[in-house]
Each structure stands twice: as structure tokens, then as C-alpha cells.
């Protein structure tokens, strides 16, 4: 019985390997090259990530996966954030791959999961609509039954890597008595008739697309999970991915901290390194406090996930803090850097613009704080273990 916040050997190995690999193969110059690039991600790097086992790491062994823990993924994501790795890992593996693993038929899993693991398939997640809502009420794209299958009509937006995807995983509404009821998932070929992709310019230079579905036919084989009953699993997978997105912000924040501390030590004004001035120190410590706090919340959520406990509240707390920290850390760093940080040639802006995407992605602070309140309704104490145990003791 000991409280321990440190990674085990396996997770340390993942983190260390990833850190060394990305330091050698990625970094700011690669991030720059793939910003607004026609070629949306480095395929060579993606192949090497497949060779390292990072694309199928969380999948079941029978579909060529490694069945790693969630914390192994978490360790990898810290380093993907630190090194600004341009890759569709979050969309392909952590969201769509996990949805297929959780909801797919055996045939769907055989078709998709090994192909993800080998680096041969990219999947894109088509959830967001024009209202920009992450809750179930945001899903309005209509899927109407026709024959054995469905017909999809409507528009999805902020669909990352859609132009490279072998499949889109589309969240659509097949009916329902309330917001969370009636949501279904579909596997759609982005080249199918009636699908139109428009790449949308955006702050982080990501290959984000708006995808319009004009009476797109989807066969029964491409329905993913229960018709009308996908929300619960979809929500859980998205909130788990939100913890991984938080881990990316953690890694990026640690890198921003390192850059900021280094600059404050080196930059001399008024005859002193500016890091000696306490207004500057205050800003630098803001980065450190934000990074430390979001790390604790994200790690706590990851542990909840791995230990099989309810985790939605903790995941929401983590992503809310990470979203706020993404903005606060880059703000404080810009204040310290001033002119040089404003220049495109300096790396800080790469973190700032990507952090803006990550801040929103899979739940902005407001959405996540609403979730915190929803999840905590009905329990007064912050210690969720207590009431359950109390009942047990009385029994």
C-alpha cells in the first residue's frame, strides 16, 4: 500500500523511447514543414511509429494489438505534445480505432484494426457540426434508413486528416427521445458518392476539413455499433481521448516551460538577465504551476481509467484544466518573450497555435466544467470512495 505517482518501468520505457525517437525524427522544423502542407503528415514517420508498435498498442491481441495500458498511451502522448509530432494518431488510434475496437463487429475489427496497427489505414473522426458543441445535442446530421442501410445528409466540420482517411467515422442522428438517445456511428469512405471535402484554413495549420454528406448511402456492414445507442461508448472514448489530448498539452507545456526558463536566463536587459526580475519570474512560475496542476489531474484520470473506475468526472476535470492551461501557459510565455516570441521564426508560436486547437479539441473548458457539475450532482463529498464504502460497512 503506497501512493505512487510514477510510471512503471514499461511506461518509463515508452516515454523515454518516444522522447528519444521524436527528438531525433520530429521537432519544430518538421511541425513547420507540415503546417498547411498539401501532404498532411509525414508518412515515413508514421511507418516508423507503426514499426515501434505505437499504432496498434492499445488494440486487442487478436487484431494484432499489444493490449497496453492506458498509461502507456498517456506516456506516448506527453512526448507527442512535447515534440509537436504531426500525425493523425489521436484521430486514427485513440478515437476511431478505439471506437472500432469497442463497438465493431468481428469483420469490422479484422478489416480495420490490423490495418491501423501496420500503418496502412488512417481514420478520421467526423463529429463536430457548425454549432461547435461536444455534447450529444451537437449531433444533428441525419441518417435515415433506406433498404438494409442508411442515407446520410448534413455537414460535419473540423474533421482532421479527412483528406488522407481510408474511413471517416461519422456520428449521426437516427432518431431518439432525448439528446443522448438516437446517436449512431457509421464508417464512410470519404471518396464515396455524395461526400464533399473542403479543407479549411486554421490556426494550427492542421488538415481540418468540412465534410458535406449529400444523400450518402451507407451499407448495413458499415454501421458501427448499436443503431441509436452509440452515445455512451462514444462519450467514453471521446473523454479518454480528451485525457490523451491533455497529456499532449502537458508535454507541450513542459517544453514551453523549458523554452521560457532558457530565454529568461539568457536574455539580458537593463544589465541583468530578465529572469532576475520578479515580474518575469511571476510569469515563468505561472507556466510551471499550470503545467504541474494539469499533469496531476490528467494522471489521476488516466489512473482511474486503467484501474477500471468511473472516470468521466476526472477526465472532464483534466481536460478543463488542460484547456485553460494551454491558453495560460502560452500567454505567460509570450509575455516573457515579447518581440522575439511574436516572430514566426521563433518556435514558441508553433506551440501557441497548436495549443489553440488542443484547447478546443474533445471539449473546451466550459464544456468540461459543465460535465464536472453534471457528474458530481448527487454526491456532496469530493471523495467518491466514501459513500460506497459506507454502505458496504452498514451492510
Amino acid at each position: 500500500m503506497a501512493i505512487d505517482l510514477n510510471f512503471n518501468e514499461q511506461q518509463q520505457l515508452v516515454q523515454q523511447t518516444a522522447n528519444e525517437f521524436f527528438a531525433a525524427n520530429c521537432g519544430p522544423s518538421l511541425a513547420r514543414r507540415y503546417e498547411n502542407s498539401e501532404d498532411p503528415y509525414p508518412r515515413g514517420l508514421w511507418g516508423k511509429m507503426a514499426d515501434l508498435g505505437w499504432l496498434g498498442m492499445s488494440f486487442p491481441a487478436e487484431y494484432d494489438g499489444l493490449e497496453t495500458t492506458f498509461l502507456d498511451m498517456y506516456a506516448l502522448y506527453i512526448e507527442m505534445g512535447r515534440h509537436l509530432v504531426p500525425s493523425p494518431h489521436l484521430e486514427t488510434v485513440a478515437i476511431c480505432g478505439e471506437l472500432v475496437a469497442a463497438l465493431g463487429t468481428d469483420a469490422q475489427k479484422r478489416r480495420i484494426l490490423p490495418a491501423i496497427g501496420s500503418g496502412d489505414a488512417i481514420l478520421s473522426f467526423a463529429f463536430m457540426e457548425l454549432d461547435g458543441l461536444y455534447g450529444p445535442e451537437g449531433v444533428t446530421l441525419a441518417a435515415k434508413p433506406r433498404g438494409e442501410g442508411f442515407v446520410l445528409s448534413g455537414t460535419k466540420t473540423l474533421v482532421n486528416y479527412a483528406g488522407s482517411a481510408n474511413w471517416l467515422v461519422v456520428a449521426a442522428r437516427t432518431g431518439g427521445t432525448d439528446a443522448a438517445d438516437g446517436i449512431s456511428l457509421f464508417l464512410v469512405d470519404p471518396k464515396a458518392a455524395g461526400v464533399t471535402l473542403e479543407r479549411t484554413a486554421n490556426m494550427g495549420g492542421y488538415p481540418l476539413h468540412s465534410v458535406t454528406f449529400a444523400d450518402v448511402t451507407v451499407g448495413a456492414d458499415d454501421v458501427l455499433g448499436p443503431v441509436g445507442g452509440a452515445w455512451k461508448t462514444l462519450d467514453e472514448v471521446m473523454m479518454k481521448a480528451a485525457v490523451l489530448q491533455s497529456a499532449m498539452i502537458q508535454g507541450a507545456g513542459e517544453q514551453v516551460l523549458e523554452i521560457t526558463v532558457g530565454y529568461a536566463k539568457d536574455r539580458v536587459q537593463f544589465g541583468e538577465p530578465i529572469g532576475k526580475y520578479q515580474f518575469v519570474q511571476r510569469l515563468v512560475t505561472d507556466v510551471a504551476v499550470e503545467a504541474a496542476n494539469l499533469r496531476l489531474l490528467a494522471l489521476y484520470a488516466a489512473w482511474k481509467i486503467d484501474s477500471g473506475q468511473p472516470f468521466l468526472r476526472e477526465a472532464a476535470l483534466a481536460k478543463a484544466a488542460a484547456s485553460k492551461a494551454a491558453a495560460a501557459m502560452t500567454f505567460a510565455s509570450h509575455e516573457v518573450h515579447a518581440g522575439i516570441g511574436f516572430m514566426n521564426d521563433y518556435d514558441l508560436q508553433l506551440f501557441t497555435t497548436r495549443c489553440k486547437h488542443w484547447e478546443y479539441n474533445l471539449g473546451d473548458a466550459r464544456y468540461c466544467l459543465e460535465r464536472v457539475m453534471d457528474e458530481s450532482e448527487g454526491k456532496l463529498t469530493t471523495f467518491e470512495a466514501a459513500p460506497a464504502t459506507r454502505e458496504m460497512v452498514q451492510a
Binding site: 501512493i3 510514477n6 516551460l257 519570474q281 511571476r282 504551476v289 478543463a320 466544467l369 469530493t382
Partner: protein, 399 residues
């Protein structure tokens, strides 16, 4: 291996139910007592009576070795005890004694341990702190209280101020300069001083949260040589900065009272919002209040996790900074969060929050009391000092 203490072992569940059983029969009901801010003698007596029962069970010294009146339990068992203290609204143990116990456990002679730890563990001795001086607050190392050796005795002269709870205490931990030619951090020593020694006098200071602090004057106070704790002249590195962070260690890994005060206030305000309707709407359903409450929950969760982190051994993996940096971050955060939280609670309750006493006061005025107390967040060092320490000693920025 990452483990935040799941309450899923047989031993822990057994321990938790043992704690609950004891609190069910012995904990005072509806007794919201904060030793820092309450001078009522009847309530003090009730408070001490309860904690002496805790002392009899050896739960004050839960994590100390059995030889020193403890039970040798783990940090996680202490955490469970503290969780239940929150659930039962148990007032915290006076913190100075726990701080002294940590230093005595680490640095004390065998005689000092056997004597002082007994009094702290059994709650028969209360401790005051003699650190801050009128001209030595954040810059504590500039203190001028002198101690000089005279045969088998030390003779203390000087003035301490802002001491918490000294007027309730029988003993005081005093920092004094033993090398008259030393400056700053060098040449300071720590003395464990009985407060009934001739030459000690006090004058009360009344703080804005209804608590009493004190000036303590030392006028040729002679204490025996064995009152020195640790090595002569080494108090700064040994006692004050002994664990690599500028906090007094607290008798092994122990959460201090602050996270628990905050959790209690959170539970109080959330409960209030769930049971109070305004404009026909439950306050907990008001969109603005919902976000305010969620922000508070987030901050409180962070404080809880800081405590967990202080329990965990540190390795190079996952996260930046050593023990010192993380301790500064934790302290800076709660010192800034506490008054912010108090203000948000005042805003949530609204104009009626300013009342205290009488039947019209919302929540018996507990919110305004909490707000008043939040300006005591400087105790143990201001948030600015923690930020300065984090910047220089934690992150390596130039001094």
C-alpha cells in the same frame, strides 16, 4: 507504478470502518471549530477532549514509529483517516505541534524524542511558534533574537511576533541567532522552550478572523542546554530547509490543515447551492453558479492531488522539477486559491453573506468567516515568497 490509493484493499477498508466506528461514537456533532480562529474556552475544552481521545488511540502519531508513541502506519492510512475527518467535520489538530514533531523525529536526541513526542502524541502539550519577528517576516533569516551560551544554559533575548496559538501553548519552538557575528541564514539555532520560564511575556494581537496571535518577549530567558534542537548554528539547513523545501515537515508525511479546510468549505457551498432556490431555480442549476462551483471543484481536486504527490516517492519519470519545486508549486497554488475561493463563495451567496450571528446569517456566517480567514494565507510564507523560491530554487532563474 501509478497508484492513487484505491480504497479496494481489505486492510484499507477495515481501517476506514474502524475510523468511522470511532468517529460515529466519539466525534462531536455539528462542531465547526477552527483552533486558529476561535477563543471560546468551552469550545476549546471540547476540542481538546476529543483530540485527547484521538491521542489515546495513537492516531495523532499514526505514522510515527511505535517506540515514539505511534503506530507505524503508512501514509495512505493517514490519508484515509484524514478523508474521514473531512466526512465527519473533525477539526484539525493544531499544526505547530505536528511541525515540531517532524523536526524532533529527524533531529532530536533520544531524550528529546521520548519527552516531546509523548506530549504531542497524547495532546497534553500544545506548541507555539517563535519564528517571525517585527523586522523579519518573509525575510525570516534576518531575525535578531539572540541566544548566548552561559555554562549549562542558553540565554535568549529578543521579540517574536504574529505567533499563532502561543497563548494556548506550554512550549514554543524558537529560532534564534547563536553566532552574533553571523549574517542571514548562518548561525541560527532552534530551541525548544518551556513557556513558563521566567523572562517570557506575551502581548495579544487580534486578527481579522477572530483569532488571537501574540507578541512573545524574551528577556534574559535561561533555558537548559538540552533545549537546543539539532546542531548549534545549523537550524536553517536542518530545521527550516531540512527537507529541501521551505516548509516545516509535519511528523512524517501528513497533509496539513489547508486542503481540508478547503474541502469542507466546498462541501458546504455546494450543499447550499443544491438546497437553495432563487428566482424559482435551484442555485446549482444556475449556469453561472454551475461554472463557479466547477472551478472550485477543480481547484480543490488539484489541492488533493498535491497532497497525494507529497506522499509519492519522486522519480525522474513523468513531470518536471524535484521535490522542492513541486512543494513550492503546491504551496503557491493553495495560498492563491484559498482567498480566490473565499471570494467566489461570497459572490455565490451574495449580499446576505456579510451577516454573521443571529438567525438571518446564511450558513451561520461561515462563508464570511472563511473569507476573513483566507487572508491568513501568509502563514508559513507568502505566495510571493513561494513564487520567488519556485523561480530561483525550483526553476533555476537568477536571484
Amino acid at each position: 507504478m501509478v497508484d492513487f490509493c484505491a480504497d479496494d484493499t481489505v486492510e484499507l477498508r477495515k481501517w476506514r470502518s474502524e475510523v468511522r466506528e470511532f468517529f460515529d461514537s466519539e466525534a462531536p456533532r455539528n462542531f465547526f471549530f477552527d483552533y486558529d480562529y476561535d477563543e471560546d474556552p468551552i469550545r476549546w475544552a471540547e476540542y481538546l477532549k476529543f483530540w485527547r481521545k484521538m491521542g489515546e488511540k495513537k492516531w495523532v502519531a499514526l505514522t510515527w514509529p511505535e517506540k515514539y508513541y505511534g503506530l507505524g502506519k503508512s501514509a495512505i492510512e493517514k490519508w484515509v483517516l484524514h478523508e474521514e475527518m473531512i466526512n465527519y467535520d473533525i477539526p484539525s489538530y493544531p499544526i505547530i505541534g505536528l511541525a515540531v514533531s517532524g523536526a524532533v523525529l529527524r533531529l532530536g536526541t533520544e531524550e528529546q524524542r521520548m519527552f516531546h513526542l509523548k506530549g504531542i502524541a497524547e495532546v497534553t502539550t500544545l506548541w507555539g511558534e517563535g519564528y517571525t519577528e517585527p523586522q523579519a517576516g518573509s525575510d525570516l533569516a534576518s531575525l535578531t533574537t539572540r541566544a548566548h551560551r552561559d555554562g549549562d544554559h542558553w540565554v535568549l533575548n529578543g521579540q517574536k511576533t504574529l505567533g499563532t496559538a502561543a497563548h494556548h501553548a506550554q512550549w514554543m519552538s524558537v529560532l534564534a541567532r547563536t553566532d552574533p557575528n553571523s549574517k542571514k541564514h548562518n548561525g541560527l539555532s532552534c530551541f525548544l522552550v518551556p513557556l513558563d520560564t521566567p523572562g517570557i511575556s506575551m502581548a495579544p494581537l487580534h486578527n481579522m478572523a477572530n483569532g488571537q496571535q501574540n507578541h512573545t518577549f524574551f528577556d534574559n530567558v535561561r533555558v537548559s542546554a538540552d533545549c537546543l534542537l539539532g546542531e548549534e548554528g545549523q537550524a536553517w539547513p536542518q530545521v527550516w530547509f531540512g527537507q529541501g523545501g521551505d516548509r516545516l515537515d509535519r511528523g512524517g508525511p501528513a497533509p496539513d490543515g489547508h486542503p481540508f479546510r478547503v474541502i469542507r468549505m466546498l462541501n458546504t457551498i455546494v450543499d447550499y447551492c443544491r438546497t437553495t432556490r432563487r428566482r424559482g431555480v435551484r442555485m446549482a442549476d444556475d449556469p453561472v453558479i454551475r461554472l463557479q462551483l466547477a472551478e472550485l471543484m477543480s481547484g480543490v481536486e488539484v489541492m488533493k492531488l498535491h497532497v497525494f504527490e507529497s506522499y509519492s516517492a519522486l522519480s525522474a519519470s513523468n513531470g518536471f522539477g524535484g521535490r522542492a519545486a513541486r512543494s513550492f508549486i503546491s504551496q503557491a497554488f493553495y495560498k492563491e486559491f484559498w482567498p480566490r475561493m473565499a471570494q467566489i463563495c461570497m459572490e455565490i451567496v451574495g449580499p446576505m453573506a456579510q451577516l454573521h450571528g443571529g438567525k438571518w446569517a446564511v450558513l451561520d456566517g461561515r462563508v464570511q468567516q472563511y473569507f476573513r480567514a483566507s487572508f491568513g494565507n501568509h502563514a508559513g510564507g507568502t505566495s510571493q515568497l513561494k513564487r520567488m523560491s519556485l523561480a530561483t530554487r525550483g526553476l533555476g532563474l537568477p536571484r
